[in-house]
């Protein structure tokens, strides 16, 4: 196990900059998720760690050792690919044992080790099969076994669960979490699924357009998203963002928007600074912090009902404020909600997030 360090790493493909001046540290034993939409540079970052891409500039260190221009084979890393990359002409035993084969281990020994790992992953009975003769979930576990068969410094995962169906994905996710607890491996895990990142990571790096927008623990990212981008990416469904007009009234912050009734908020220096730049702020409330209320109450938002989806333990109630500015509430009830045509949703001001006109978080009082 080892640490990973990026120092001002930039990667360009011709005109396009995939990763732009990115720096971060991953400590020994951390499980870090690179989270972001497609094209944000997360996979490119991972491939640079693996040595499959070379940075245009900057340095990469693994375990304190400079590896920027080192060939993948000399980095002693393990990687699980999105398409599993199982060798179609080799049976499972040879597939899993391949890293040991290139390390020059004798056949009997490497097959014994492969069997051992395969047994843990419950594919030990399939060792004579070809990859095309096993199911998708078994293929995924085979590629995992191939990565775990030798002690690597860092384990890299490139969206390893995205080709599985929903149920298998949950199962595999739980297993990966267990594995991380068991082995304490240093892992970097690329995903566009925020739930995966939240469930697995000790820290999440949220990426957008080649930059790291926020690098923090899942709880921190959930509670204090650094930008509207992060707020909108994390959470299921993501945070509701309402564009509001802010102004200082009698030493307090008054917010105005169509259908919104909110009590004036306490002013802070940070809010003052944001207001000085622009009165156009964004108000954020998570769906799970919204409830159904009577029309006319304070700290509410009112709009025509758009959708009412019953999911069993909870209902998703969406109201439409026009121009596709929708607000969704997660109501925790297993009853069917009987709603009128216009719905009022209430929230508590302690669960309110504020972002300035550039989308940056305005720290709340006491942050």
């Amino acid at each position: 196990m080892a640490s990973v360090e990026f120092k001002n790493v930039t990667k360009s493909f011709g005109e396009f900059t995939a990763v732009s001046d990115v720096s971060f540290d991953i400590a020994d034993g951390e499980f870090v998720c690179l989270l972001g939409p497609s094209g944000c540079g997360k996979t490119t970052s991972l491939r640079m760690m693996a040595g499959l891409e070379t940075p245009t500039s900057g340095h990469i260190l693994i375990g304190g050792q400079e590896v920027t221009h080192l060939h993948p084979k000399d980095r002693n890393i393990a990687m699980v690919f999105q398409d599993y990359a199982l060798y179609p002409h080799m049976n499972l035993a040879d597939n899993i044992a391949y890293p040991l084969k290139v390390r020059g281990e004798p056949v009997a020994q490497r097959h014994a080790r492969a069997k051992q790992v395969a047994d843990v992953l419950k594919i030990g009975h399939l060792m004579d099969r070809l990859p095309s003769q096993i199911s998708g979930g078994q293929q995924q576990r085979t590629s995992l076994a191939r990565a775990l068969v030798y002690p690597a410094k860092v384990y890299l995962f490139d969206e390893p669960l995205s080709n599985l169906d929903a149920k298998l994905r949950l199962e595999a996710r739980g297993f990966l979490n267990h594995l991380q607890r068991d082995m304490g491996m240093t892992a970097v895990y690329v995903t566009h699924d925020q739930a995966e990142a939240m469930a697995l990571a000790t820290r999440i790096a949220v990426m957008d357009q080649g930059h790291i927008v926020q690098f923090a623990s899942p709880i921190e990212i959930y509670r204090r998203p650094a930008t509207t981008f992060v707020a909108n990416f994390v959470g299921n469904p993501p945070m509701n963002l309402v564009e509001v007009e802010g102004a200082q009234v009698e030493g307090k912050l008054a917010l105005k928007a169509e259908g919104l009734a909110i009590a004036a908020l306490a002013m802070t220096d940070a809010i003052g600074k944001a207001l000085a730049a622009s009165g156009k702020l964004t108000l954020g409330v998570r769906p799970e912090h919204l409830g159904i209320a009577q029309t006319g109450a304070t700290n509410t938002i009112t709009a025509p009902l758009f959708a009412n989806e019953n999911m069993g333990p909870e209902s998703l109630v969406t109201i439409d404020r026009g121009d596709s500015a929708r607000v969704t509430a997660r109501i925790f009830t297993d009853d069917h909600l009987d709603l009128s045509k216009v719905v009022t949703l209430r929230f508590s001001t302690e669960h309110v997030h504020l972002f300035d006109s550039t989308g940056k978080r305005i720290p709340a009082l006491g942050e």
């Binding site: 693996a50 040595g51 499959l52 060939h71 993948p72 084979k73 980095r75 002693n76 890393i77 393990a78 990687m79 690919f81 999105q82 398409d83 990359a85 060798y87 179609p88 002409h89 391949y98 890293p99 084969k101 290139v102 390390r103 590629s143 191939r146 030798y150 890299l156």
Partner: protein, 276 residues
């Protein structure tokens, strides 16, 4: 469903026409199967009476013709090994590396190999082989065919390799393999069906060619079977039908055997490489 009478008549007419066309194509093949076993074969189709192997005995008594089969074999196998190996390595490099203009290279080579057909380039090829001192050697024929077949072979294989995910070799390299190891352990076995297609295609091309060996070779002992067929013509230029038929049958057997072997062992599933 019941057919109406006009539709029924139409069907019969169509079937009859199809049968007629089929027969026209089948007749020469039937002749080709019967004539070698007929000691009195002529150009007309006739059942052998009696069936005999005497034609084959005479053909195998002709040492020049037997040597020619061996020569064909040397030239075809030699050419195929060269084309297969060179095309695989070149196509792999063209597919996987990020050389600028690699697409243009493939297409220009392909264009030249098809525009400058074998016969149009005959004079320069003759001069080059002559200057290289390779006249009347198997190597001359092998090199000429390798040069002619390579661009198309590369094109077919490059398309084939392009369709194979890079992650195979990448995962091998991350696991600790050198690029050469990754190529031989992982890429080559996956590419093999494509190579087989190219090899069969190359073999058939060289085996059946007449002009190039006819021009580049001098001595009887080096001529391939395609040229040696002419030894079964009389001085006056008329074919000795019995021997010609027997020799032709022997001559075509290796190609048929190769097709059967490949389709049994690999199956021709991978012809999808050619987009043009």
């Amino acid at each position: 469903m019941k057919l109406t009478i006009p539709a029924f008549v139409g069907r019969i007419a169509f079937s009859a026409l199809a049968a007629l066309i089929g027969a026209i194509f089948a007749l020469p093949l039937l002749w080709f199967l019967f004539a070698p076993f007929n000691a009195r074969a002529e150009l007309g189709l006739a059942l052998p009476d009696p069936w005999t192997l005497s034609n084959f005995v005479t053909v195998f008594g002709n040492s020049y013709a037997v040597q020619a089969l061996w020569n064909s074999f040397i030239q075809a196998v030699g050419g195929v090994i060269l084309v297969g190996a060179a095309a695989t390595l070149a196509a792999y490099a063209l597919s996987r590396s990020s050389i600028p203009g690699k697409g243009a290279v493939t297409y220009i080579l392909l264009l030249f190999s098809s525009v400058v057909s074998g016969s149009a380039a005959m004079v320069p090829i003759f001069l080059i082989i002559s200057a290289a001192g390779l006249m009347d050697t198997h190597l001359a024929v092998i090199l000429t065919f390798a040069g002619g077949l390579l661009p198309t072979a590369m094109f077919i294989l490059r398309d084939f390799i392009d369709s194979i995910p890079k992650s195979y070799e990448e995962s091998a390299m991350v696991a600790g393999a050198s690029p050469v190891q990754a190529f031989f352990d992982v890429a080559l076995p996956v590419i093999r069906p494509g190579i087989v297609v190219v090899v069969v295609w190359g073999f058939v091309n060289i085996w059946g060619s007449f002009l190039i060996p006819f021009i580049l070779l001098r001595s009887d002992s080096n001529m391939p079977a395609s040229v040696a067929i002419y030894s079964f013509y009389s001085e006056a230029g008329t074919p000795i039908v019995t021997l010609l038929a027997a020799y032709s049958l022997i001559y075509s057997l290796p190609v048929i055997a190769l097709y059967l072997f490949v389709s049994w062992k690999f199956g021709f599933r991978f012809f999808g490489g050619i987009k043009a």
